[in-house]
Symmetry: C2
C-alpha cells in the first residue's frame, strides 16, 4: 500500500484528477465512468486509464453537446451538400439517423448498423453536434423559418477564401479525446447518409487534451500563443450570448436553446512569423508569449490596461495589437471560441500548411461576431501572419429528449 | 478525504495507473514525472493529468527510442530526399542537428533554435527515431558499409505502389501521446535541415493511447480487427530478431544495436469489407472480432490450432486465412510490428482513404520479413481488402551517448 501512495504522489494526486474531471463534466451533467472496472464494455473496460476513455458526455438535453462542453483533444468538422431533389422528408430522415446514432455512439455503444462495433467502445467524451446551412431551409421549403443571420459572413478585406473550405448545407462537429473514436464516428455518420448527402469538406483539428494538461488550460496555437483567453461566461451571466432566444431573428422560435456555429479556416504564415523576435511577437498580440498575460499585466486573465503608456508616452499595448482590436466596448460583441489547430503535412516541394480551425458559437453571429471580424480586418497587426481561407455559417438546433430527433421543432 | 477515495475508485485505482506506466516505461528506463508538481515546466506543469504529458522516454542509450518503446498514441513518419551535392559532411551536419534537438525535445525542452519554445513543454513520451535509406550511403561514399538488405523490398504481386509513398534518403519517426507535441517536433526537425534535405512524404497515424485504454492492449485497425497480437519477445529470447549484430550483412559492424525499419502503406477497402458479415470476416483473418482470439481458441494470445477440423472435416481456420498465412514454421521469420491507423478525409466527390501505416522493425528485413510478405502475396484471404500503396526500407543506427551523434559509427 506504500507503493500505491508513492504512485499517487508521482501522478499528481488522484483526488485532483477526479475533482477536475468531475467539475468540468458537470457542465453537461456528464456521467463518470463506472466504478466497477469489470462492468465497463469492450477493450477499454477496466483499464487503469479508463477515466478518460470511458468518460461520457450526455447526449440528450436542452442544448446539444460539443458547445459548452470542455473542449476535447480532437475535432472533425464534416460539411455536406444535400443531393439534388432533397426535401423536408429527406432532412427528417437524415436527422433521425444522426440523432439515433449520435445517442448511441456518445454513450460508447455501436451505431444502429455499425459494422465495426468494437471501435465504438471508447466514448472518450465524444460529442456530435449538428448544424444547418442556408441550403437546408431552401430544400425543406422553410425559408420563412431561416434565421435572419444565416448566410455567408460578409466579405472581409483580409479574406482569401477557397471555395473548397466554404459553405455546406449540413455540418457535423465531432469531438472526442481519442482519434480512433472520432474516425469511427465520422465513418458511421457519413456512411449512414451517403445516399442522401455528399461530403463537401472535412476539417480536422487538435489541441492538447485530457491526459496531457490540466482541464481548463487555455490552448496554444501553432504560433506558440496562448489563444482563447477571453470567453463569455456562458454558464452564467452571459448565457444569452450563446443560446438563441425565441425571437424572430432566430427563425420564429424553433431555434430557442440552439445557437450558431461559425467556422473560419485561418492559415498561419509560420515561416515569416518565425522571423520575428519575441518582443516583436508580443507587440503583435499584446500578450506575453510565456504565459499569455497582457503586456500591462502579470497573469493570463488580467484585464489589459489599454490606456497605459511607457516612459516615452507611447501605448504599452500597440494601437493595432490583436488584443486591443479584438475587443469591443459593446458587451454584446462577444462569442464563445472553441478552436483547434490544424497541420497539413508538407509534400514533395510543397510546404506544409498550418493554422487554426477557428470555431465560434454565438446566439447571433451578425450582431456578435461580424463587428469584431470587421474591426480586425480593418486593422490588426496579426493580419500579416493570418489568412482566412475558409468560412461557413450554420444554425445549430437545440438538443432533444429521448424519442425526439434533432431539429424536430423545425421540420416536425 | 472520503471524496478522494471515492474518486480513486471511480478512476480505476491510481496504484494500477502508476504500476502499468512504470512497468511499460521501464523498457527504456524512462523517467517518471516529477513528484513535485511545482517543478514540472510549462503549461503542463503541475496539471492533474501531468502523468501522461510529462512522461519522458530517455533519449540516450544503446538503442534508439521509438522501437521497443510501448507505442504512443500518435505517429508522424517524415521521409526526406537529400539535395543535390549532399556529402558525408552534409550528413554529419544533419545528424548533429537532429541528435541535439531530439535529445532536447524528448525531455520536454525546446530545440536549440526553437522559435516556439512554449510548445516544447509537454514531452508526452516523445521519441525521435532516425533511419537511412540507400541514398545516404551513396551520398556519403560509404557503399561498402551499406547493409546488404538495404534496398527496396522486392515487388509483390499485390502491390499497387504509388511513387509518392515510396523510398526516401532519410526518415524520422516521431511518436508521442499528444498531437501538439508531434506537430511541434516535426516542424522543428524539418525546419532545422531545410537547407540540406527536402521532405519527400509524411505519413501520420494514430491508435488509442495513454488515457483511453490500458497500456499493452493490442490495437484495433479501422476494419475493427485486433491487429498485432503476435510479437517476438524482443526484450527476452528474441532480442536477436530486433537488433542487428556485428556481422557483415549489417554493414561491417556500425549497425550493431541498430535495426531496420520497413514502412508499408496499406490501404483498406472498407466499403467492400463492410459488406461482409461477421462470420465471413472472422474466416478471413482466422480470429474472432470480439476479442481477437483464434477461431480455435478462447483468448487473444492462444496459439491457433491450425490442424483443427470441424464436424464436416474442414479446417476450422481456413487454409488461406491471414492468421495461417502470416506465420512461418521458421522462428527467424518474425519481426516487431509497430503500426498505426491512418484516415484521410473524403473531399468533394472523392471518397476518403483509410488504412494502416504498417511499421516493422527487424534485424534483417530480407531474412525475416520478405518471406512472410511473399507468402501473403501468394495467398491470403485478406488481400481482397488490403492494397499496399507505399513501401520504404531504412537502416536505423544504434542509439548514442551524450556528446555523440546518431550514426557517428558510420560517418565518424
Amino acid at each position: 500500500m506504500a507503493e500505491v501512495s508513492r504512485r499517487s504522489a508521482l501522478f499528481g494526486g488522484v483526488g485532483l484528477v477526479g475533482g477536475a474531471l468531475g467539475g468540468a463534466l458537470a457542465m453537461r451533467g456528464a456521467q463518470a465512468p463506472s466504478p466497477d472496472p469489470g462492468s465497463a464494455p469492450g477493450e477499454g473496460g477496466g483499464a487503469p486509464w479508463a477515466g478518460v476513455g470511458q468518460a461520457v458526455e450526455t447526449f440528450y438535453g436542452a442544448n446539444q453537446g460539443g458547445i459548452a462542453t470542455v473542449p476535447q483533444a480532437r475535432l472533425a468538422l464534416v460539411a455536406f451538400d444535400l443531393l439534388a431533389g432533397a426535401s423536408r422528408s429527406t432532412l427528417v430522415r437524415i436527422m433521425r439517423i444522426w440523432t439515433d446514432d449520435a445517442a448511441r455512439l456518445t454513450r460508447g455503444a455501436p451505431g444502429l448498423t455499425d459494422t465495426e462495433p468494437e471501435l465504438a467502445t471508447v466514448p472518450a467524451r465524444l460529442t456530435v453536434t449538428v448544424g444547418y446551412g442556408p441550403g437546408v431551409f431552401e430544400a425543406a421549403g422553410l425559408q420563412a423559418r431561416r434565421p435572419e443571420w444565416l448566410a455567408p459572413l460578409p466579405p472581409f478585406s483580409v479574406d482569401r477564401l477557397e471555395e473548397g473550405w466554404c459553405g455546406g448545407d449540413l455540418v457535423l462537429q465531432i469531438c472526442a479525446d481519442d482519434e480512433v473514436t472520432v474516425a469511427h464516428a465520422v465513418r458511421v455518420l457519413v456512411k449512414e447518409v451517403r445516399e442522401l448527402a455528399q461530403v463537401r469538406w472535412v476539417q480536422r483539428g487538435f489541441r492538447r487534451g485530457m491526459g496531457t494538461q490540466a482541464l481548463g488550460t487555455t490552448m496554444r496555437n501553432l504560433m506558440g500563443q496562448v489563444d482563447g483567453t477571453v470567453q463569455p461566461d456562458v454558464a452564467g451571466v452571459d448565457v444569452g450570448l450563446l443560446w438563441a432566444g425565441p425571437g424572430p431573428r432566430s427563425g420564429t422560435g424553433w431555434l430557442e436553446g440552439g445557437t450558431s456555429l461559425v467556422v473560419r479556416r485561418i492559415r498561419l504564415e509560420l515561416d515569416t512569423w518565425d522571423e520575428l523576435d519575441r518582443p516583436a511577437r508580443e507587440q503583435v498580440v499584446g500578450r506575453r508569449l510565456a504565459d499569455g498575460a497582457p503586456l500591462t499585466g502579470t497573469a493570463e486573465h488580467d484585464d489589459p490596461d489599454l490606456e497605459a503608456v511607457n516612459t516615452l508616452g507611447f501605448p504599452v499595448i500597440d494601437v493595432a495589437a490583436h488584443i486591443r482590436r479584438s475587443r469591443s466596448e459593446k458587451p454584446g460583441e462577444r462569442f464563445l471560441r472553441r478552436g483547434y489547430n490544424y497541420d497539413e503535412p508538407p509534400g514533395a516541394g510543397v510546404p506544409g500548411s498550418s493554422g487554426l480551425v477557428f470555431v465560434t458559437f454565438q446566439a447571433d453571429p451578425v450582431a456578435q461576431l461580424v463587428p469584431i471580424q470587421q474591426r480586425l480586418a480593418e486593422m490588426d497587426l496579426l493580419n500579416t501572419w493570418t489568412t482566412p481561407i475558409g468560412s461557413a455559417v450554420f444554425a445549430v438546433p437545440p438538443g432533444c429528449q429521448e424519442g425526439e430527433y434533432l431539429g424536430h421543432g423545425l421540420f416536425g
